[in-house]
Symmetry: C2
Subunit: 112 residues, 2 copies
DNA sequence: CAGTATCCCAGACGATACTG
DNA sequence: CAGTATCGTCTGGGATACTG
C-alpha cells in the first residue's frame, strides 16, 4: 500500500492533519529552528551565546521564542543565581527526539 | 553521538534550519495538511470532493492552497475539458514521499 | 462545477528604548 | 547579562460577492 503508516494507524485524514499541525505549531516562529539546531546533540548555550550565534535576532524575539520552546517542553532553562546573571538552555529528551523527524523533512526537501 | 544524522551530514545549524524551513514553508497554510492527507496514498479527488471533505474551507482558500501545492510540486492538477468542468487532484511522487516524514512528526508529537 | 475579485482584520514580527 | 515594554508594520486568512 502506498502509505502504510497512516493506514495502519487509527488516523483519519483529519486527525492526522491535526496531529501534524500540533507539531508544526511548536516549530512555527521565525527563530525557533535555528535555536533548536544550535541546541541539538546535547549542546548547552547561554542566552548571550545564542544571541551571538544567531545574527539578526533581537533580544525581544530571542527571549520570546525561547519562552515558547520552554513552555512547550522542547527545551530547558537553567538560571544560576549569581551576579552578573547566568542562564543557559538545553534540549529536553522529548525535544531531542524531534531531531530525526526534522532530518526526514530535510532529506525530503533536498530530494526535490 | 546524540544526533548522528545532523553531525554526519554536511549541515551547519544554520543550513539545517534553513533546509527545514524551506520544507515547512511548503506546508504552512491553514488547509494544506488536510488537503494532503486527503490525497495521500494515491487518492484522487475532485475540487468539489475536497470542498465537501473539508468543512469550513472557503472556495478562495481551497483554490489558493491547491494552487500553491501544485506550484510547489506536491500535487498535480488535471483539467478535463468538458461542460460542466471537471478538475481533479492527486499527489506527485515527491509529494507522496513526504508522508513518512509527516508520520515521524506525528509520532513525535504523540509521544509527549 | 470550479473557480476570481475585494475588502478587512488579528496576530506575528521588527525597531527601539528601558531595567534588575 | 539577560531580559521587558511599547509602538508600528505587514501579511495570511476570513467574509462576501461575482463568473466562464
Amino acid at each position: 500500500m502506498a502509505n502504510p503508516e497512516v493506514s495502519r494507524s487509527s488516523h483519519t485524514p483529519e486527525s492526522a492533519a491535526e496531529g501534524v499541525e500540533t507539531a508544526l505549531r511548536l516549530l512555527e516562529g521565525r527563530w525557533k529552528l535555528v535555536i533548536l539546531f544550535h541546541l541539538f546533540g546535547g549542546k548547552v548555550q547561554r542566552y548571550s551565546d545564542l544571541e551571538r550565534l544567531i545574527p539578526g535576532v533581537s533580544q525581544k524575539m530571542l527571549a520570546q521564542q525561547l519562552r515558547q520552546l520552554e513552555a512547550d517542553g522542547l527545551i530547558e532553562r537553567t538560571v544560576y543565581p549569581q551576579v552578573p546573571p547566568k542562564v543557559d538552555y538545553r534540549m529536553t529528551a522529548w525535544g531531542q527526539a524531534l531531531c530525526p523527524a526534522l532530518d526526514a523533512l530535510l532529506a525530503w526537501s533536498e530530494k526535490r
